[in-house]
């Protein structure tokens, strides 16, 4: 019986529910010391003096470093030339949170005291808190190399003047994709131990090999003596693929003080130091006809990079513009983007990284076209969908060749769950009753680019390659260990990969372990991001398992004196097809696979061991259709989500329970972006939402329950057929929620509301309408 598609309980859970998990902060090697960080409280300032004398004189303080102490080290990796992010700011601090000094002490509390005792003398410089300020004439400059604040500008890829002039109708929409803080519940944590024989770094990180390669290059040391371990990781959501400066500082300090150095970010630090996500502004022009058929689309994206451009952050608008047309067959699409620096926390990957911004934009545009033409939003979608037989579909972007999907099918499946006519009737009835709450119905037909990716795709973001490693190693007792480079942080990879391997190997799920997250144990690896773990890493496990199984069959055939083609496996027994009595257990095949005398001619001992560097020819394109129903309190402006219907197409489902979990979590973050979360700065660049008191990560009473449905179109780029699902919810939910909010208010002439749709914003609209 196949385990693909089975609800299997997670192998990860027994440790995690009993407190036996091992997160980095749980580790306490002998002699462990503690690092604390002094951060700039100024958005932009010349650093006049850093007085460390009081901190240095404290009992238990081992080191206090300023920029001068790390002059021999490079800048933070993944920086851009001339705009490098220093590990410790020297001449100037460029955002609130920029590191100004670090201390190491024998005790966590003493380290905090010492950090508090460092006195920094700043001379404030004019600061840039927003894109508007950055692009204003005579704006202050952050990096002199730029001659302005634009790091990169791509003009419209095509001139669509003729198309827009000829179009029956056009419309324009400006929208803001609000800056979000990833806010995993475990912040950045690192423990570095630079011993006599090498460096070991435990880090809350999504891509340990990537970090290992980078650390070795950073310090000019050999990869063989550099070991990175990502043990249990408390959520990442993209933010833990960024090279946090603290990782490199902890390693350097460990070398200097001769002790392990541990650093645990506080939440207040995490809010300003862990890179943010989204932070885009869009100007969109759309040309269409009276039927709602879209004729041309122009999208200009302005990406806030924060104070120091990051290699991943630079790529965000590339992904956004590549996916600008969403599920739709739009004859002409022109895109333009601009990367801009501001005196704010750097911006890089956050769940979806560039794609939620695209789906939000195009799904808002669809509803805008519906509003302009009076055509129902469902019909506008259906009019413009790429048809189910339209794949592969080359988009306007060379990056994106959609390989499979059935967008109308997903929307139809959604409408099977949603009684749309009844909701429309209820909406009208409520509108007529001034004491009733307003009702809004919002849809999104979303699509994303995932499964990173084909050769060259991750290299563009600074990774070694785009494959994922998998090693399958059968033990002498017939159990198996899978080693994967796709290091997880909550996805359930240990479970899903064991399911995949169990199917291919015919070994019991309970006798398959999955190991990850240690560069000394895993051959090589890339990491978990971009919804790639199953689509690339899982496929690798399947490929490696298949190879091992073919060899096991050879051994079994030899032992059973049968031909290989007749061998089948059932209940961990190899037997000759049709002759169940003629059998040999997996455990014996495994045992004998190590004994040269038992092997068929030409077979080496230890051959039930295969390593694969799995490549895929294309990205994957998960898609789906969501519907959100909101109620709006006419007096307070409060939005409450009444229903959330979710139809996902992630291709083959390995474990429905885990897929549902990924969708729920992504949707929750999407709702959070739409209604609650917004990393805000005041006009001078000081963050206003730098704690979890002010930055509203929603809790259980604030989020709805979900109704889930599913359609399946297979991913043609792997044999599993799986597309990936980690980012889906965060891509699909925000437009569904905002479309619902706008729908509830459309009788007032409302065409758009920027996220988050706060009660005050809506109250302002309602008040203005009176």
């Amino acid at each position: 019986m196949s385990l693909i598609g089975a609800k299997v309980l997670r192998k990860e859970d027994p440790n995690l529910i009993t407190g036996q998990g091992q997160y980095v902060d749980d580790l306490a090697p002998a002699g462990c010391s503690f690092m604390a960080v002094v951060r700039s409280t100024e958005p932009h300032a010349r650093i006049v003096k850093v007085d460390t004398s009081a901190a240095r004189s404290m009992d238990g303080v081992l080191a206090v470093w300023t920029a001068a102490d790390i002059a021999s080290l490079p800048a933070r990796p993944a920086s851009l030339p001339g705009m490098d992010m220093p590990l410790i700011a020297g001449d100037a601090a460029r955002f609130v949170g920029d590191i100004v000094a670090v201390v190491v002490a024998t005790d966590r509390y003493v380290a905090a005291d010492a950090a508090e005792a460092v006195v920094v003398d700043y001379e404030s410089l004019p600061a840039i808190a927003s894109l508007g300020q950055a692009l204003a004439p005579d704006a202050p400059m952050i990096h002199p190399v730029l001659q302005g604040n634009t790091v990169f500008f791509q003009d419209y890829t095509e001139d669509l003047t003729a198309e827009f002039d000829a179009a029956p109708r056009t419309a324009t929409l400006s929208l803001v994709n609000n800056r979000c803080a990833p806010a995993p519940i475990e912040p950045n944590v690192v423990l570095a131990d630079w011993g006599a024989t090498g460096l070991t770094v435990w880090a809350a990180f999504q891509a340990p090999h990537h970090l290992r390669n980078t650390i070795a290059a950073f310090f000019g040391i050999s990869q063989d003596t550099t070991r990175v371990i990502a043990p249990d990781v408390g959520g990442g959501f993209g933010a833990k693929i960024n090279f946090a400066s603290e990782i490199f500082l902890a390693a350097a300090l460990s070398r200097a003080v001769g002790r392990p150095v541990k650093y645990t970010q506080t939440r207040s630090e995490c809010m300003v130091a862990m890179f943010h996500g989204r932070a885009q502004e869009h100007k969109v022009d759309v040309a269409f006809d009276d039927s709602g058929k879209i004729l041309a689309l122009k999208v200009q994206v302005t990406q806030d990079q924060g104070a120091y451009p990051d290699a991943t952050g630079m790529g965000l608008p590339v992904l956004t513009t590549a996916m600008a047309a969403g599920c739709y067959k739009i004859p002409k699409v022109a895109v333009s983007w601009r990367n801009v620096v501001t005196n704010t926390t750097p911006v890089a990957a956050y769940r979806g990284a560039g794609r939620p911004e695209a789906s939000y934009m195009i799904e808002r545009i669809i509803d805008l076209v519906a509003d302009e033409t009076g055509v129902d939003p469902i019909d506008v979608r259906k009019t413009n969908f790429i048809p189910a037989d339209g794949f592969p579909y080359q988009t306007h972007s060379p990056l994106a060749v959609y390989d499979s999907g059935n967008f109308a099918g997903a929307l139809d499946e959604l409408l099977r769950h949603v009684d749309y006519p009844a909701l429309k009737a209820e909406q009208a009835a409520r509108l007529a009753d001034p004491t009733a709450k307003l009702l809004g119905i919002g849809f999104s037909s979303w699509l994303e680019i995932a499964g990173f990716g084909p050769p060259g795709s991750l290299e563009a973001f600074g990774h070694l390659a785009s494959w994922e490693s998998a090693q399958v190693r059968v033990q002498p007792d017939g159990s198996a260990i899978i080693y994967t480079g796709a290091s997880p942080h909550g996805q359930g990879t240990v479970t899903t990969f064991a399911q995949i391997a169990a199917d291919q190997l015919g070994i019991d799920f309970d006798r398959i372990s999955v190991r990850h997250g240690d560069t000394a144990v895993i051959p090589q690896g890339i990491g978990t991001m971009g919804s790639r773990a199953v689509a690339v890493g899982g496929e690798g496990v399947k490929t490696a398992s298949t190879r091992v199984f073919e060899r096991a069959k050879k051994i079994a055939a030899h032992l059973l004196e049968a031909t290989e083609d007749d061998i089948v496996v059932e209940n961990e027994e190899f037997h000759v097809r049709g002759t169940p009595s003629k059998s040999v257990p997996w455990s014996q095949v495994a045992w004998k696979s190590f004994q040269p005398l038992e092997l068929p001619a030409g077979m080496e001992p230890g051959s039930l061991d295969a390593t694969v560097f799995q490549q895929v020819p294309n990205f994957s394109f998960p898609s789906g259709a969501y519907c959100c129903v909101v109620e709006i309190d006419r007096e307070t402006g409060e939005v409450e989500i009444r229903n959330m219907y979710l139809v996902d197409d992630c291709g083959t489902v390995i474990n429905p329970m885990l897929v549902e979990g990924q969708v729920h979590g992504g949707v929750a973050q999407g709702i959070a972006q739409a209604l609650y979360e917004h990393m805000q700065y005041d006009e001078s660049g000081v963050p206003r939402t730098a704690t979890l008191m002010d930055y509203l990560v929603p809790a259980a009473p604030d989020l709805p329950g979900y109704v889930s449905g599913r359609t399946v179109t297979l991913n043609p780029s792997n044999t599993l057929g799986a597309k990936g699902v980690g980012e889906s919810g965060s891509v699909g939910a925000p437009p569904a929620v905002i479309n619902a909010v706008v729908d509830a208010l459309s009788h007032l002439g409302v065409k758009h509301i920027d996220m988050p749709a706060t009660p005050q914003k809506i109250w302002s609209i309602l008040r203005g309408s009176k």
């Binding site: 951060r39 966590r108 509390y109 905090a112 005291d113 950090a115 508090e116 506080t266 939440r267 207040s268 630090e269 007096e635 307070t636 409060e638 609650y676 805000q680 206003r688 939402t689 704690t691 008191m693 002010d694 509203l696 929603p698 809790a699 259980a700 009473p701 604030d702 706060t758 009660p759 005050q760 109250w763 302002s764 008040r767």
Partner: protein, 275 residues
């Protein structure tokens, strides 16, 4: 930063007398009850007292007693105890109801009514109950006991009438047995402090009090008077924000707060049985 308090001396007081003695003898000392207002400020090092005097073990500050026309609630009584108290639910139901809405369950298990009131936070829930019901604060100093009306208790932002060498020992809530009540708390996220809150106590001496509508917890005086003189809910609600100077922050402008105060007042009045 955050997370680790600065160093302090720790002293335990076994009685009110001992606590007063310690307060008088230590410079820059703070009283520690449940710690749920104080410890977060200490972790942020916004407050760094040289000495913490732990009063949590003082038995005479615990518990709820029936004092005839009033309920006397010891300052150290935890929100959870107030919330679950049958006698509070019977005689001051507004208090029981609001005690169940403070913070979150963990906060309610540890936080104390006295701690919450002496913190004087205009965004906290319980001051509005004291104000709406016309409670009396019992404060003890070296010279003995002082009784302060709730309306005189909150003097400035995070500042109450409790002197530096005094301790809030109990709160007396006049019984409101059988009278209606309402409490409306407007938040964006469930666990948060109120953006605006309104407490309504119906009965013979009705009262309306506001949460987060200024730098101190306050009664809605004009609205309360209108209510006492028999005005209708709409008229009373329209007066809710009279004389207030509400703060502006991320969640609400002053205008929006005034509007919310009026909307919530009407809802609280309806809940309290007014029509």
């Amino acid at each position: 930063m955050g997370m680790i308090p600065a160093r302090f001396d720790y002293r335990q007081a076994g009685s009110v007398a001992e606590a007063l003695q310690l307060l008088a003898s230590c410079d820059d000392a703070k009283l520690l009850a449940g710690g749920h207002s104080l410890v977060p400020l200490m972790k942020m090092r916004l407050v760094s007292p040289s000495t913490l005097i732990d009063i949590s073990g003082i038995a005479e500050l615990q518990g709820i007693t029936d004092a005839g026309s009033a309920l006397r609630v010891g300052a150290l009584t935890r929100h959870r105890v107030v919330e679950r108290s049958q006698v509070v639910a019977q005689h001051v139901p507004l208090l029981a109801h609001v005690a169940g809405l403070v913070g979150d369950p963990q906060v309610r298990n540890r936080g104390t009514i006295g701690g919450s009131l002496v913190h004087g936070d205009p965004a906290a829930d319980l001051p509005s109950v004291a104000l709406a019901t016309g409670a009396t604060m019992v404060v003890t100093g070296s010279g003995g006991e002082r009784r302060i009306a709730a309306s005189d208790f909150f003097v400035d932002f995070l500042e109450t009438a409790v002197g530096p060498d005094e301790i809030l020992t109990a709160i007396e809530f006049p019984k409101r047995t059988g009278a209606g009540f309402g409490y409306e708390k407007f938040v964006r996220r469930s666990m948060d402090y109120a953006i605006v809150g309104v407490a309504v106590q119906a009965g013979e001496q009705p009262g309306i009090a506001l949460v987060n509508m200024g730098s101190v917890p306050r009664r809605a005086e004009a609205a309360s008077q209108a209510l006492a003189s028999g005005a209708g809910v709409d008229a009373v609600a329209a007066l809710a924000a009279d004389g207030t100077n509400p703060p502006e922050d991320l969640n609400a402008s002053a205008d929006y707060r005034r509007h919310l105060a009026s909307v919530l007042t009407k809802r609280a009045l309806l809940a309290a049985g007014y029509r």
